[in-house]
Amino acid sequence: MTDVRTRLSSTTADDSQEIRTGSLIGDGLTVARRNLIKIRRVPDLLIFTTLQPIMFVLLFGYVFGALAGSGASVQSGYREFMMAGIFTQTIIFGATITGYMMAEDMQKGVIDRFRTLPMHPSAVLLGRTLTDVVNNVVVLVVMSVTGLIIGWRIHHGALHALWAYLLMLLFAYALSWVFAYVGLRVRSPEVVNNASFMIIFPVTFIANTFVPSQNMPVVLKQIAGWNPVSTITQSARENFGNLYALKSGQTHAAVDKQTAYTWALQHPDLYTLSWTAVLLAVFLPFATAAYKKAVAK
């Protein structure tokens, strides 16, 4: 068997060399590079990653800020409070790009090219999800700068802030695999887009992202209390030092107690990481299987 193969390759042009199967990381990076070129070429996607986050920060900050009270300091306090929430929501929306692009790729011929190349079988998915990470980092930078301009501050030092960003990125990465699976199963980019909007919107709103969830009606309050979106936001708020920015005339201890009203909110890092691990453990193999199946119809 190997015989024929080596003989075959030795008969081709002398400068040819044995072709080998790729490594997951190497091929994944090649695919990611391709995706990034694509993002730069497609105006919609570029807007999605740059202008939209700026718009969100400004809209939510100033419109909802008005709800917090009429004083300027109350409103700037709200803007500081809301930043962690808007970070989380945007980063979660970012994960849906994987679903959309995966579905789109499956409709395009290029996937046939990939499938006949000696690539690592999971490289397309890895490349796709890695692209989201890059994208999300850009989004976080853009939003942070916007936030800093409108008065948001990091109070607890770089290390805590980095941890907050990292936790968001980790969770979003796990979600990318969820959406990769969805994209592969649904196969229509538009449907993926609409479906993810329908799911993500409520999930990111029934949380402490934009309002203190402890004030919600009891059912919503409990859902929000166990929503990983809330725990990421809570952790980020603590790590950025924005937890007390909402001027409520209460002591820090009282705010701690009120905002962290569930076990999940009391242990936001552990809870978020557990979700991340579970999502990855389930959807990494699911998406990989779906990719294999989807292309082998």
Binding site: D112, T116, L117
Partner: protein, 328 residues
């Protein structure tokens, strides 16, 4: 010499469509196999099974000695593929497409760049090398896709209708490229609807229709199946057809077919140009005016027609006929 590609009893059914229904074939190393068939014959499905894109329902196949079902990765290390529909990334430029493919064949970065440049030149895409493939014409995409199949100089190449949609010049270029490849020892399996192409390029031909192989052999063997030479004559006046028929009965070696409408007569002959001269003399003696006369050797078109019972879909008129037939 071994076989670069073997297929034994490949089957692929889609619900009640027997896309491929027991195809067996061989591509000896360093040769070109032409898979010839009309629309819907099962050419693409066969190629997709051999290139690990779809799994056959039954049967077995090897490419470069590796089992397509059990070791698809080994197959992928040995092949270059250009499918019927160009598998290029629209958002990437021609150069970026080829460099990406080269990287995914794991050529070192420098070599990948050099190879991309070389292929862009070879396929006359250097002018458009740096704009997104989205802006390419159909023929340019096609050429870019073909270049992609050759990036790593793999020992076995599959080309599904490589020249469909190419202008005559590009088609000629493509034929040169394929001949070069074969000269370097590459094995090629190509599908085509163009009999001329199979005749020109392929060492062996299999004709498939309705998912089955209905004939195989060299181009000459297939032509021989249809029979030998024929003498074809068009007389100037319809009244002389009867006289001409009598002449041809003597000259020819079989029954004379005559068409009053076109004033054309056809008869099988065995003597080649001798028969032609004999006929010309006889017509001259009897003062039968001849508009056109010639010896005709069977083409692959004839072979195709007699094998499949329908013409190869090589011109539009046939397409319309077929569509009309399906509609009624």
């Amino acid at each position: 010499m071994g076989d670069a590609v073997t297929a034994d009893g490949l089957v692929k059914h889609y619900k009640d469509v027997k896309a491929v229904d027991g195809v067996s074939l061989r591509v000896p190393e360093g040769s070109v196999l032409g898979v010839l068939g009309p629309n819907g014959a099962g050419k693409t499905t066969t190629v997709r099974m051999l290139t690990t894109l779809i799994r056959p329902d039954a049967g077995a196949a090897t490419v470069a000695g590796a089992d397509v079902l059990r070791d698809p990765q080994a197959v992928r290390r040995s092949i270059g593929v250009s499918g019927q529909y160009a598998a290029v990334d629209e958002y990437l430029s021609g150069r970026e497409n080829l460099e990406m493919v080269a990287r995914l064949y794991h050529l070192p970065a420098k070599e990948a760049k050099a190879r991309a440049r070389e292929l862009l030149r070879q396929f006359r895409l250097d002018d458009a090398a740096n704009r997104p493939a989205k802006t390419y014409s159909g023929g340019m995409r096609r050429r870019l896709d073909l270049a992609g199949a050759l990036v790593a100089r793999p020992p076995v190449i599959f080309l599904d209708e490589p020249t469909t949609g190419l202008d005559p010049r590009s088609r000629g270029d493509m034929w040169d490229v394929i001949n070069d490849l074969v000269g370097q020892g590459t094995s090629v399996l190509l599908t085509t609807q163009y009999l001329e192409e199979a005749d020109r390029l392929a060492d062996n031909i299999v004709v498939i229709d309705h998912g089955r192989i209905i004939a195989e052999g060299t181009a000459d063997e297939l032509k021989a199946q249809v029979g030998g030479e024929r003498l074809e004559i068009t007389v100037a006046e319809a009244e002389r057809i009867a006289d001409a028929t009598r002449v041809l009965e003597v000259v020819g070696s079989g029954t004379v077919e005559a068409d009053r409408h076109t004033r054309r007569l056809i008869v099988p002959v065995t003597g080649g140009t001798q028969s032609l001269l004999q006929a010309v003399r006889a017509f001259d003696e009897q003062a039968i005016a001849v508009q056109d006369i010639g010896i005709r050797r069977p083409t692959l078109d004839d072979a195709f027609l007699s094998l499949t019972g329908h013409k190869a879909v090589s011109d539009e008129a046939d397409d319309f006929e077929q569509l009309a037939g399906q509609a009624s």
